[in-house]
């Protein structure tokens, strides 16, 4: 079996898991101040992700680490070519993680309100930046022969050139809509009371926006027709399920759409990992970027031993915190 191909699959899997799991974390962060009336309800909404968000975020660490280990050139070109967007992403993730972790450490309404505001803004910014980044990576960068995006037109041109393209703008909008959809369906599934009731209203509109983004991407050639068709149908089903009060189905269908879109975007050019928009010969491919046979077999053994365990104990964490969180006072 070709280990490079296996690792391409694993990198894609890590990205998909990260964008699904943190997708609803971002959505909950954005929706908590909107859906939560008062501090207790906002707290209840955030309590659904508080024990698990950090574990979810490690899938980003895994995705980047796997890219570095299995395809050093992919890692180097993708990160250096998207220097400023990636730096901005890291800053947004920093604000988000700290706001979420620190809000409960003080019994002070104003402190919490500030943390919640920072959390909502940084969650929205992270979700759209991630969407834009995935959109750009799917479309390719202006890689030169050394795998770098040259700064001919200056630093600003380097950044603007990567971000000012339809793929990035669609990705940003899609990322925002997908996070909202995942967050709303997750809150519907994980809370009781006011937050749960109000979350339902956000499923239809966010599914609609996401469907429109997927359609436009399909028309522009960014996604294959079968994927577009399937996603639009599943999004419709998710909206209907939410309306019918089938919260589990609404969430599962939303997860499926996010996963399918991410996988489709990342694998459609395979074996090209990151295409050069200047010359196809300069693209980063599975063959050109693969690590040595020894390095690949080392990380493969490590993954074989470790990843099942990771999935098991992360599953355990979700199972331990499976009970719905009450967003209204429980009569005693």
């Amino acid at each position: 079996m070709d280990l490079a191909l296996l690792w391409f699959g694993l990198v894609v899997l890590c990205w998909a898991l990260f964008l699904v799991l943190e997708g609803f974390d971002f959505g909950v962060g954005m929706l908590a101040p909107v859906l939560g009336r008062g501090g207790a309800q906002r707290g209840a909404a955030l309590r659904t992700i508080a024990p698990v968000w950090d574990g979810n975020e490690v899938w980003l660490v895994a995705a980047i680490g796997a890219m570095f280990a299995a395809f050093p050139d992919w890692y180097a070109s993708a990160l250096s070519g998207l220097y400023l967007p990636m730096a901005a992403l890291l800053l947004c993730l920093a604000v988000r993680g700290v706001a979420l972790e620190f809000r409960g450490k003080r019994d002070d309404e104003r402190w919490r309100a500030r943390c919640d505001a920072a959390l909502a803004v940084s969650s929205a910014a992270t979700a759209s930046l991630l969407g834009a980044v995935v959109g750009v990576l799917a479309g390719g960068l202006a890689l030169g022969p050394d795998g770098e995006v040259a700064a001919d037109g200056g630093a600003l041109a380097r950044t603007a050139g990567t971000l000012a393209q339809p793929g990035a703008l669609l990705g940003a909008l899609g990322g925002l809509a997908a996070a909202t959809l995942l967050g709303a369906t997750y809150l519907g599934l994980r809370t009781t009371g006011g937050v749960r009731d109000r979350a339902r209203a956000w499923v239809g509109p966010s599914a609609g926006v996401l469907a429109a983004v997927v359609l436009v991407a399909g028309i522009g050639g960014g996604l294959p027709g079968t994927v577009v068709g399937a996603c639009v149908a599943v999004l419709g089903a998710a909206a209907l399920a939410a309306r019918a009060g089938r919260e589990g189905w609404a969430f599962a269908l939303s997860v499926a759409v996010q996963a399918v879109v991410v996988v489709a975007l990342l694998v459609q050019d395979a074996p090209v990992l990151l295409s050069s928009t200047l010359d196809p010969a300069w693209s980063v491919t599975i063959e050109s970027a693969r690590a040595s046979a020894y390095a690949l077999s080392t990380i493969s053994w490590a993954a074989l031993v470790l990843l099942p365990g990771v999935l098991a104990y992360q599953g355990l964490a979700y199972w331990v915190f499976r009970r719905r969180v009450a967003s209204d006072p429980v009569p005693t």
Binding site: G43, P72, A76, M86, Y294, L307
Partner: protein, 499 residues
């Protein structure tokens, strides 16, 4: 500044900042686990209160460590993409395996621990915090193996076709002789940071100017915290010294230039003295204005033999020119010399304060502050009226605000020393720092991100400090025990332990 200098500055800023929080997380995780175990075994309530407090300090510290650690994993690709291309085959697997083996464990089980008090069986809950503590120690080992490769490249070969390094043996990479001594040295340094923080907090609450303890029980808890922190700081201080000595010997063998720079030793010398301090230009020929030397000590430290010959900077420079071609292979000597001394000085000061504190508070005694402050206590002792204990107690209390910063400074000076004194190399003897930056990167981009990191990190530091200050000023007495109701979760506050 050009792109290279800005990229180096940014790497230094984000890495040093990240490392304020890492050692604290490592030690607080183990200390939380230890305190909870003590409670589990004895059932004494003050251990429970302390477990909760130290656990909260761990949570806020870990959070900042996580979000700043993400930057570490990205920055080899962001600014140092040519380094990533050349050494990705060796370097990448360490980061990937660290993530899969250790970081998933830490992140997932810390969530399970903090929110799992009333959801997990008692023993399983205790196990979760131990898993976190073990995860942090595994993480540190693997990451230090990656750094040890930069100090002393092993377990690789250069692919003749691509000219890039290839990993030969992951095991050999892990058991790099530098890692085997740098790891215990680093962990001992980490233990000092947590120990010093707990000692300062406990002493501040038990005898200092902090909010007064609310009764016997609270006083006992703060005293226990302070003494625990004191023991950890003192024992870890001893371990730091022993492992530091071993690391110095290994470093003399693999990077003689670094240790020569640490001593500003320009001329190769047999029976070389250790310079305690020197002011003036120490370059060959020049006499320092003011200096203090301990004869033969450097030879003893470097080779374990007072008469051994220690290579000087000038000879090493000539040797490296022969080996690697023309160039300047001398690191920035004043920085190496002074960071090395400040590392030892701040670390030893923290350990000394801990030992004095433990002595003064032995056998149930407290810290006593002299009414006239440090000056009054000193006058008292000199006049033969006051007691030495009062003087020491007053002195330790006066040092409390400084105490948590001392090991942090020692860690920082240590890393600045070991990283800058390796220059001009990124991977010693193999890859120059100037070759690591990607060709497309511009100084404007690095400046922009540097300003961004600076602003956000500044705010994070302030928020972290305020949260910690708030947590340590709170009363220990726990809130009323909440019922174990299915839907009675209240906001995102952790449930208090109900068993």
């Amino acid at each position: 500044m050009d792109t290279l200098e800005l990229a180096r500055l940014q790497f230094a800023v984000v890495t040093i900042y990240h490392y304020f929080f890492v050692p604290l997380s490592i030690s607080l995780a183990a200390l939380t686990a230890g305190l909870q175990t003590a409670w589990h075994r004895t059932g004494r309530p003050h251990y429970r209160e302390l477990t909760l407090l130290v656990g909260k300090l761990l949570m806020v510290t870990f959070a900042v460590g996580v979000v700043t650690g993400l930057v570490q994993e990205f920055q080899f690709g962001l600014s140092w993409s040519d380094f990533a291309r050349f050494y990705g085959d060796v370097f990448g697997p360490t980061l990937a395996i660290e993530g899969m083996l250790a970081f998933f464990l830490e992140a997932t089980f810390l969530g399970l621990w903090f929110f799992g008090w009333d959801r997990l069986p008692r023993l399983a809950h205790l196990a979760t915090i131990w898993v976190v503590a073990i995860g942090t120690l595994l993480s540190a080992f693997i990451i230090l193996a990656a750094n040890s490769f930069m100090q002393n490249p092993v377990a690789y070969q250069v692919d003749p076709r691509t000219g890039r390094a290839q990993l030969d043996s992951f095991w050999a990479l892990m058991v790099n002789e530098v890692n085997l001594v740098a790891y215990p040295h680093t962990i001992a340094g980490a233990a000092m940071t947590g120990g010093a923080l707990l000692m300062a907090v406990g002493a501040w609450r038990a005898w200092g100017r902090g909010p007064t303890a609310r009764g016997e029980q609270d006083h006992l808890a703060w005293r226990t915290l302070a003494r625990l922190g004191g023991w950890v700081t003192a024992v870890a201080g001893l371990a730091v010294a022993i492992t530091g000595d071993l690391l110095g010997k290994v470093m003399t063998a693999v990077q003689p230039m670094k240790m020569a720079a640490a001593e500003a030793l320009y001329v190769t010398q047999a029976g070389a003295p250790f310079s305690v301090f020197a002011i003036g230009d120490p370059r060959s020929g020049g006499e320092p204005l003011l200096s203090l030397d301990v004869p033969y000590l450097l030879s003893l430290l470097a080779h374990g033999d007072p008469g051994a010959t220690v290579q000087g900077i000038d000879d090493l420079q000539a040797q490296y020119v022969q080996e690697h071609g023309p160039g300047d292979y001398v690191p920035w000597v004043p920085v190496a010399y002074w960071t090395f001394r400040l590392m030892i000085g701040t670390g030893m000061l923290a350990a000394t304060l801990a030992v004095l504190f433990l002595w003064v508070t032995r056998r149930g005694q407290g810290l006593v502050r002299h009414g006239g402050g440090l000056a009054g206590a000193t006058r008292g002792v000199l006049a033969g009226r006051g007691s030495l204990r009062t003087l020491l107690g007053t002195g330790v209390l006066a040092c409390l605000p400084l105490l948590p910063a001392l090991p942090v400074l020692a860690n920082t000076f240590g890393w600045v020393f070991t990283e800058t004194a390796r220059q001009p190399w990124l991977v010693f003897g193999l890859f120059r720092t100037e070759d690591g930056v990607g060709s497309g990167l511009t100084s404007a981009e690095v400046l922009t991100s540097l300003v961004g990191f600076g602003l956000v990190y500044g705010v994070l530091a302030l928020v972290w400090y305020r949260a910690v200050r708030h947590l340590v000023a709170e009363d220990l007495t726990s809130r009323p025990v909440r019922t174990n109701g299915a839907d009675a979760d209240d906001g995102d506050r952790a449930p208090v332990p109900t068993y």
